[in-house]
């Protein structure tokens, strides 16, 4: 049986893809930066992304938020969420330097795992949880089975 020998370029390409996946997972799924910006009064919400065969489902935890303050924007690759809280969230004491800080918005840009059709997305908001469902953008050709 003929087996194509892998060239050095194939191996470098495979290594590059593995590094890209590792970096994407490390920095976008579990970033090592704080989940807040004190100067901008912003919090980064917790998010959960799951995939089915047909959909990408993004769920976002947005306590202290009401539906009418949520803005969402999506392309084929990203979902951006901004939401204002119904009241300022005061946290005191805060760390070793400040006595108290206040936050009044959530903001996050989420990279989606596969390309989606943003115009067909459906969203709902219940009990402080936002769920956005995107149909996947599936391209390709049907394969006939002999």
């Amino acid at each position: 049986m003929y087996r194509r020998r892998r060239s050095i370029f194939d191996m470098f390409e495979e290594l590059r893809k593995q590094m890209d996946e590792f970096l994407q997972e490390s920095f976008e799924t579990y970033p090592e930066y704080p989940m807040h910006d004190v100067e901008r009064r912003e919090l980064q919400p917790l998010t959960q992304i799951t995939e089915t065969d047909d959909e990408v489902i993004v769920v976002v935890d947005l306590p202290f938020v009401s539906k009418d303050t949520i803005n969402t924007y999506a392309t084929e690759d990203i979902l951006r969420i901004e939401a204002s809280t119904v009241r300022s969230i005061r946290i005191e004491p805060w760390g070793s330097i400040r006595k108290e800080v206040e936050f009044d918005k959530f903001r996050k840009t989420i990279r989606l795992p596969v390309a989606v059709r943003p115009k067909e997305a459906k969203a709902r908001f219940k009990n402080g949880i936002l769920e956005v469902r995107f149909p996947k953008k599936i391209t390709g050709s049907k394969i006939e089975i002999e």
């Binding site: 579990y30 917790l46 959960q48 306590p63 969230i89 946290i91 949880i129 769920e131």
Partner: protein, 251 residues
């Protein structure tokens, strides 16, 4: 003081023997167990009486009210003990910590160990009031739970921190009850914790306020985001999806 090779339970004030219950609050699915234990300790006005020491702990101390505190602490009232962790635990620390706690509970002749955790369900958003299931390590305890209107887990798997607790309690021959509530997997879930506290009130004939937990739900969700994120990182290595799989063929 009780020890394994890597974990010491340090009693700052002597803890009496024969307490009725030890509630274990470690970060896990939905932070449910941690929220339950913290709420019980707060509502029961428990006093801090000890802490856990280990070389496996990360280099962290916390400061509360100007006092240096260990990240895993022990609280008591006249008939209960609560063990509460403020940090996410590595798998290695989880195993050694739970072994140490089970051995310590045995030496202290604690009557029962309680765990509480979430069962991740994909339709949690549709659920207004999460259902609670119970799992006990003795038939008598299972019957007791049923008599107190707690549905028993008949088939399935428990994976992770509280599975280790059940195993170590079996090893030390200490009765263990685990209460499981439908929950979010990756978000703090005070709603699931409230369902468990309600069930616990029936089981223990107590009157721990549930409404105050529900009122604090949004604040808990904000304050525990970072801990939930770190807990997610540690849970990544555990096959939590097995809890949702069909049970095995052979009984």
């Amino acid at each position: 003081m009780a020890e394994t090779d890597s974990v010491s339970i340090v009693e700052v004030k002597p803890i009496e023997q024969r307490k009725n219950l030890m509630v274990v609050g470690l970060p896990d699915i939905g932070l449910v167990g941690l929220i339950v234990a913290s709420h019980i300790a707060s509502e029961s006005k428990m006093h801090e009486v000890g802490y856990v020491d280990s070389e496996l702990l990360p280099p962290i101390v916390t400061v509360h009210g100007g006092e240096v505190k260990a990240p895993i602490r022990i609280f008591e009232d006249k008939d209960m003990i609560a063990v509460i962790s403020e940090i996410a635990l590595t798998p290695a620390l989880t195993i050694e910590l739970i072994k140490g706690l089970a051995r310590w509970a045995k030496t202290k002749k604690i009557q029962m160990v309680l765990g509480a955790t979430g069962i991740p369900v994909p339709n949690r958003l549709e659920i207004e009031k999460p259902n609670v299931l119970g799992l006990a390590t003795t038939r008598e305890a299972n019957r007791y739970l049923q008599n107190r209107k707690v549905q028993i887990l008949q088939e399935g798997m428990l994976v992770g921190t509280y599975a280790i607790l059940v195993k170590e309690c079996l090893r030390q021959e200490i009765p263990n009850v685990t209460l499981l509530a439908e929950s979010f997997e990756e978000f703090p879930d005070p709603g699931a914790a409230a369902s468990i506290v309600e069930a616990l009130n029936r089981v223990l004939d107590k009157n721990i306020d549930v409404q105050s937990l529900i009122e604090k739900a949004d604040e808990i969700r904000v304050r525990t985001r970072e801990l939930m994120r770190r807990t997610q990182q540690q849970m990544k290595g555990m096959p939590m999806v097995q809890e949702q799989e069909l049970p095995g063929m052979y009984r």
